[in-house]
Amino acid sequence: MTAAAPEPKANMGQPVPRYDAHSKVTGRATYASDMPLANPAYAFLVTSAIAKGRVDGFDLAEARAVRGVIDIVTHENAPKLKESKLFSNGGYAGTTIQPLKSPDIAHDGQIIAVVIAESYEAAREAANRVKVNYTVAAPSATFDSPGTTTAAAKGQNSQFKEDPKVGDFAKAFAAAEIQLTAAYDTPTQHHNPMELFTTSCAWIGDDLVIYEPSQYVHGLKNGVAEQLGIDADKVRVVNPYVGGGFGSRGSMTPRTAIIAGIARRLNRPIKLVATRDQGFTITTYRAETRHEIKLGASRDGKLVALRHEGAEVSSRPDAYCVGGTKTTTRLYACPNVDSLVSIVRADRNTPGFMRSPPEVPYLFALESAMDELAVKLDMDPVELRRINDTTNEPIGGKPYTSRSLMACFDEAAKAFGWSQRSSQPKSMAEGDWLIGYGCAATCYPTQMGPAAARVRLQRDGRTRVEIAGHEIGTGAYTVIAQTAAERLGVPLEKVAVFIGDSDLPPAPVAGGSNSTASTCSAVMMVCDQIRQRLFKAVMPDSLTDKAKETVGISQAPTTQAAKSNRPLDIEKAFDALGVSVVEEYGEWKPEGAPLDSFKAMHSGHVRLVGGHQMQDKIAYAFGAEFVEVRVNRFTHEIRCPRLVGAFAAGRIMNPRTARSQLMGGLIWGMSSALLEATEIDERNARYVNDNLADYLVPVNADVPGVEVILLSEQDDHINPAGAKGLGELANVGTNAAICNALYHATGQRIRKLPVRLENIEV
């Protein structure tokens, strides 16, 4: 076993190599913009140079004169599209700002024209020659900018239903022996997946094929159909591989229907490869947030009062928010809790999900505050978590289905060498480097959504699994193949998996870390349907009594046998059936799913359940993260030589892919704490560092040592697969862990991310 393929512990699958590994190392994996198109025309976007105002007119003479230009589309001649509602209001879109509908400009970088040409080079040149006359209005950029409006999230965002509270916070806080009040800030961040935001559209008669990196092919298909005013069955979205998602491709952006509309008008396939900088404004991002945390505790460390107030930036028309108080108010035992989330509207593009949307900013605040409280109490921060650990969340009193938080802390502390830490800040050093150790809890809600699958088994064991899941790097192909192989008892190499195509049975958005739990539960169910048919063939009714005996179960022997792990002689069953192929289709929905789940599934609407929204329980995955930071006492350079995380997430389907996701998550967390921020020119409400040289993401040299520990955990109360999502688990706690370690190294408490050398005042 290499480090990449950890030995499976109890309730873990085999660390088999990725199903798609060969395709990915040979260049044969076809991402959306790799798809061959017959005689495509190339699109290049022109985006707004102002954040607020209107287009008074274009001078297109020079642009039109460029050799190879076919068409220039502006609001004056754009295809008419129907509006799409926000995904949270029953629509599909990540923004209701619809470019090319009018001359109005709602944010910087809004699409204002599309140039179509015979070549990419000609389209780009012509786009650069488009001259625009604007009427400019003064935009509001962010918090504290003149002209913003602020209001409570509750009441304006249909998905933010409550500001969780319990007991009497004010009274308890006032009476608390130890009080802490602290404010925290997190920055604007952009996902920057490696694959650009591309869209290729080809019409075949009245049918539209879209090649686009998407985390939700059924949502995109239905959304584009709605905007074009055509039957959804006429639209097919195909993307067998997605070059990273991180939330950026979960909801529909305006570009897709625009390109589809132009392709229809020109009767020609169109390929758009938006530039990296355009990706900052034509899709979503993680908005900047502000927090105030108040903690009241007794001298022995027990929390008696907790208040979390958060504020988030959104666009003028859309009340997007992440509202992470749903998690931070439920993480620790505390009888008196209060919270409030507000939305600040500015002249910006609408923000959206970015990896662990609520937990990253909100847990940064809470887990930093917990560390500050530990300092006030002169207590080991791990022990403070232990004292406030709980089996039931405090708001509704519901039990966690499983919670291995302290086991994670203990395992990670041991691996990290936490006992070597001297508790005083600035007490550890090596040469010019101040050394700090820090830790934090991490968690992420366990979510599931309705999913359908089709499975075909041939008598030679070859198996075909069809489900419109998404391979965004998570290992979807691999765990789906493993699930089918295990349930049907066929060799893994005989299983073929088809995902990333809206013509396949629908699966949920690849978001909220629900995919493995949802798709594998559906595939298990359909495999069991096949087993049932085969068992039925070898256990005809006349033999029921004998079958009962053999199977050892009194009722519905075929069903029981199908659901058990009883091996099946496939050849014998096929002989009895007299056919060569068995195919089953099935629709699975999680316990507690809303009544309209399957209908919504087919129309591309997300219905995730889980986390705190379950009937009589609450389901989260947990982890603990420990980091070492080094701060140069002269240059203030910050390095992060070690990241250690221990995680428990129910059944680990494949320790190899799980470890890789968690490892990537830890590095994401480090990046979020020390590198990433989209800088905003507040005068003009424009993003400044909109490229991969200026928007800092880690490179290999930034990442010396990462250790991932997978804990064995069994949870029978979540979903048939027994899996908790972990793709968004690891990058949550790291932000606070690093700031806590920086405090330990320097004695300076930094409450604003990212922390860079200019923020250190040793």
Binding site: G27, P193, M194, G244, R276, G473, T474, I667, A693, N700
Partner: protein, 204 residues
């Protein structure tokens, strides 16, 4: 962040670039030079397509393309070789890395005309029949990718990194592989893969 390129001479130099470019009207030239060039008619109009022959993975490919076409777009849009990826088009991410001669080059910043006459190797040119190149196998073994989009560039870069003699230590590998961004952050696994493949590649 170090540059992807090494300082080793490679035969891919400014002179070769100028020669290629002069023949294709990319830079101003004298009427006399134009008259002597068999492809001169193109020189009359800088936006007219030009003919170029690229030597990719051991085969010559004749193309008629816009003179501004990069090696990356020539591969992807004109030759059906989509293994090399576009992640930024600015030489910032490394996803488009190919080998020109022995040198790793960001193909998005290299004009196709400038690569004429050079040996270009892409990810599609590594495996022979069904046998993976040792670096490809090492990436599989060490799970050195997630979404896979940066992987072709990482692998091309990693092969050059080894041949340059920059895979002697983990620290060296990290430093000399830092021109290739992996947003999924498979970095520790990439280092393990390069370490695994290096001896076999150096053995030849």
């Amino acid at each position: 962040m170090p540059d992807n390129s090494s300082s080793r001479p490679s035969g891919f130099d400014r002179r070769a670039f100028m020669a290629g470019a002069a023949g294709s009207a990319l830079v101003p030239m004298t009427a006399r030079a134009a008259a002597q060039d068999p492809r001169a008619p193109a020189a009359q109009d800088p936006s007219a397509p030009v003919d170029v022959t690229l030597h990719v993975n051991g085969k010559d490919r004749r193309l008629r393309i816009d003179a501004r076409t990069t090696v990356l777009d020539a591969l992807r849009e004109h030759m059906g070789l989509t293994g090399s990826k576009k992640g930024c088009d600015h030489g910032q991410c490394g996803a488009c890395t190919v080998l020109i001669g022995d040198r790793r080059v960001v193909s998005c910043l290299t004009l196709a005309l400038a690569a004429e006459g050079q040996e270009i190797t892409t990810i599609e040119g590594l495996a022979t029949d069904d046998r993976l190149h040792p670096m490809q196998q090492a990436f599989v073994d060490n799970d050195a990718f997630q979404c896979g989009y940066c992987t072709p560039g990482q692998i091309m870069s990693a092969i050059a990194c080894v041949k340059e003699g920059h895979a002697g230590s983990e620290a060296d590998i990290r430093e000399y592989m830092s021109g290739n961004i992996c947003r999924c952050a498979a970095y520790p696994n990439i280092v393990a893969a390069v370490k695994q493949a290096a001896p076999e590649i150096l053995k030849g």
